[in-house]
Symmetry: C3
Subunit: 437 residues, 3 copies
């Protein structure tokens, strides 16, 4: 198929239009939360706070910055493994994330922090970054095959769907999902895979040679991998309750990620004829432990439970790269450029299931009476709460996320199939030269 | 012109001499502030502090580290876009910043935290990094055309001028300039441009081919861009008042930077014949929103106001790269290697003007009575304070910064023109081979 | 010698076995410390804590993340300077560190936080990272000449030895060693050098050409250098006492590192025939100031004392690269790939000696009575404490570390010499192709 890839007016118009809409909506709706408002000095006196440190800023800011690095450097550079698509990997990720966080602030604001008149913005910036994280995941599935205009439209729609799904899970089903195994990773991956399925290109082999890496492109990708890996404890703990919950989420994620590296290396070597390691596995499967730990991060899974999840995720993810990705492409017509199914899809499901199991066995011995109520936020909802019910709600949350991803992915995929978005022809996929000077 | 580029004795002597002077001056003048002194345990009891967290360290350290990354990795790698000048970009930036922070601790110490006998050093390390930031900006203008000896001399003199200018603005005029639109960016850019003007090389086209980038050098530069972009909220909030001011500065900067990416992309595409994007714009113009937000970061500009500044800065900066930089070189004989005029000069002026406007419309409705006093630090100065006057002082601060930059730049430029600093001949500019093994 | 480098079953079996052992041991021994346990809510009430911020998490987490970056990105990328060994440098460092932190949590746990039944884990994650830091140092000495199986075995044994040595120094001798000049750097370096001595390869010149760098590999290495350099203040302050001690350690390390850059540059230029700089010196010697400051970081060395140590370390380290490394290889048969003797060995000794000197001149004038007790942790041990004795204990600690490194290195080296670990033949050293697809 021949498409016109000249973006001269399409891209500028879409960017400027979206940004003008953002400015107008921010002008109408967005104000500072009390913690970021000059009236906080007075609030502090009223609430009798003894220290400026009680400003939520100091609890969250270091974690926020780590998450920020994961979105922009982590995801951006992870995708630079393609030999001639580094500008687009980093550049388009930058563009979609910069737009996505603005739209996410609005969507999440309307659903979670709307006081009837204004959205009150504070360190909820973290949530906007989280939301965009799911778009970065989906981007990995369609990487190299879409135009920046398509990416902006996908971002607009996916952020919307994400926010609705997140609202259903967190506010209606009241599930726990600290690190977003379900809301971010499983949703993002299956949404992206569905879009990739709709956008299937039977003749993509025409750009096959550019789909591989070269020596230095793999080192750039390792920058992405390592910043994702190192800061994942911040990701999984960023929005947890103050104190022990944040602390525990960090320890659990740290353990899971460490175990995951060893099983990724083990499987990578075991599955090669002469035992050599594959950079693709090291770059990706070593992160699966962070994804799989997302839902249970702040729960009482104990350190060995975290190691176990990392252990399993590393194995499943590496097996996925070796056996499942080729199968998806040849049989199910799903071309998953970065293997997001192995890094975010399967581990996301493992995380959701683990969450259901761990929640259902929660008890006062493990958590203490106050601790149980605090961890599951019980006092603020219903007294009829019990762990078993929580477990079933967690499972329901996983199904809702997958259903939203599939249905949403089909709708968005169909929209992105329209022939005027400037998408590249098959022989120019994975090539920066189409969109970059 | 033929210069001798053998630095064998010049560079070592300058480095060792400067460092010995630093050690002597630190020995005579520098001691720990109470927050970093073992007597703090006693101080804590006297002040009746309930928690160790009241040590200023915990308020500032995460922001400090982010700023530190911006200076060394951010600025250093941003300049690696040149195909054969990566060692020098990162290495000389490292050298000048390492020296500059020491001299800045002394200069700023004498002017701001001298107790009559000693300079008391604490998390004011941030201010030293800020000061050096302005030298990194100026370095961008002369990049590739000067020797490390020249850079050390420029750093010595620019840090001195910066500190005096900062003292005039912050202590005499009492302007607000949290993120340094005026003191760091506008001052640094116009200082550097003036030096570049004095050092004009009419035959620089002899090294033209090395002035462009290659594929991987542009990816290295994106590492710099992204760390600058991600940590800019820390930059603009690092020295703000505790609590809401730091929090607000982060939100504002985050918004401005996000908007700026969209307009940079829009303009980059719109200004290309077939709509292709230019890495130079993505690397640089996407950061202009952080510069433009510097002065107003902690003021009540509201989130949509921040978006608007980012929107404008992205447009102005990209237009600058396309039209103004060639004009400056051909007509005004200013060879601006990195285009600092577009990233720091113009957005710095926008930031200064925005500061004057926003300060002049401050009022009790927006800030609350206590909030207004706290934000503008009124109680500690005069009761005759009013927003209108503050606005005029802000405007005066911008003019003073520009004047200092021009006059200082001429003086320093003339000194750097002396023929014995080991500067490279025209045909060896932008080439690591001159100074690196 | 001909070795079989096919790792197909050896590497997977070792990885999986080690990880299964970890899971079992964690299951039996590791639980959350109170600060990371849901019972903390109750504890908070009992202890009458007024703010969630009193959770140790908030004191340590930002520093922990910085240290984490140093271990994985810092050490990993620092070693990518080799032109064809980037995958292994980053990848094997990733593997050994991921395993090492798990084993370190157990070893250090048994020795330091074992309550008779359980190891209680908390922000002590930092200590696990520290311990692994010493393995990364040793890795630098044997880089390119060992297989990943050998590295895992070395990690297992070195972490064990490190923990015992650390226990002797910190608990029995009660020395101060905040940033680990002795326990991490001197121990790691001399352990690694001893292993390299045992593994001496007389025909290593067969892979000589790959031992050098290429243009881009040196830029990748600078990423490692800069993250190590920037975050070193966090390293040296991460486990110091709350408040002034952490604050002071940051200031001292910042000063030392800054001075070190200038003397590294000066010596690098002075030692070259035409005054050119050598990237190896800039990448490594500029960090020696952080190593040398490790023991005294939290002591009253005063800022000028820190500058002085950095000054000396930069000179010694650069001289080491130019004169000592060739001497070690040709005369002592020690092939030190990364020059860890110059970056960690000599500066580690300087740091240990400085610690002995500075401790022995401690007095109440400098520290205050309470400050002296708090800094040296006197109240919790003996009343017969005096600075002179502390100085002698510090010196003893240095000797113990060196002795442990030599004896341990010989034992581990002999084990690693066994011919079935998949080590590369002489002509394939420093080559990713042996172990990577």
């Amino acid at each position: 198929m021949i498409w016109n890839t000249n973006l001269r007016w399409r891209l500028p118009v879409v960017c400027l239009l979206l940004e003008v809409v953002m400015i107008v909506l921010f002008g109408v709706f967005v104000r500072y939360d009390m913690d970021a408002d000059p009236h906080w000095v007075e609030e502090k006196a009223i609430k009798n706070l003894t220290t400026d440190l009680e400003n939520e800023f100091y609890y969250r800011y270091p974690s926020f910055q780590d998450v920020h690095v994961m979105i922009f450097v982590g995801f951006g550079f992870l995708m630079t493994f393609l030999q001639r698509y580094g500008y687009s990997s980093v550049g388009f990720n930058f563009l979609l994330a910069a737009f996505g966080i603005q739209w996410a602030l609005l969507m999440q604001g309307w659903l979670h922090s709307f006081d009837g008149r204004y959205i009150l913005v504070n360190e909820g910036l973290i949530n906007a970054d989280f939301c965009v994280g799911s778009v970065c995941v989906a981007f990995g599935a369609v990487l190299g095959k879409v135009s920046p205009v398509q990416l902006l439209i996908m971002t607009l729609l996916q952020v919307t769907l994400f926010s609705v799904n997140e609202y259903i899970l967190l506010n209606l089903l009241e599930v726990k999902d600290a690190g977003g195994s379900m809301t971010i990773h499983a949703f993002g991956a299956y949404f992206g895979l569905t879009v990739a399925w709709i956008l299937y290109r039977p003749n993509l082999n025409q750009s096959e040679e550019r789909k591989s890496s070269v020596y230095h492109s793999d080192l750039f990708a390792m920058i992405g991998t390592l910043f994702l890996w190192m800061y994942w404890p911040s990701f999984n703990s960023a929005i947890s309750n103050h104190g022990d919950a944040q602390h525990r989420a960090v320890i659990n994620t740290y353990c899971s990620l460490a175990a995951c590296v060893l099983t990724s290396v083990a499987l990578s070597s075991a599955l090669h004829r002469t035992g050599k390691l594959d950079m693709v596995h090291i770059q990706n499967a070593s992160l699966a432990g962070g994804v799989g730990l997302g839902t249970v991060a702040e729960l009482m899974i104990l350190p060995f439970g975290s190691l176990l999840i990392g252990f399993i995720c590393g194995i499943v993810s590496t097996l996925g790269f070796v056996y499942l990705t080729p199968f998806l492409e040849s049989r199910l017509r799903i071309q998953d450029t970065c293997g997001v199914h192995n890094l975010h899809g399967l581990p996301g499901i493992i995380g959701g299931v683990a969450g259901a199991v761990i929640a259902s066995i929660a008890n006062i011995d493990l958590y203490g009476e106050e601790g149980l109520a605090y961890t599951f936020g019980v006092e603020r909802s219903k007294t009829s709460w019990n762990p078993n019910m929580q477990g079933r709600l967690q499972a329901a949350g996983l199904f809702v996320s997958l259903a939203m991803a599939l249905v949403g992915g089909i709708i968005v995929g169909v929209i992105l199939r329209l022939p005027f978005w400037g998408q590249p022809p098959d022989e120019n996929c994975f090539d920066d030269a189409v969109y970059w000077e």
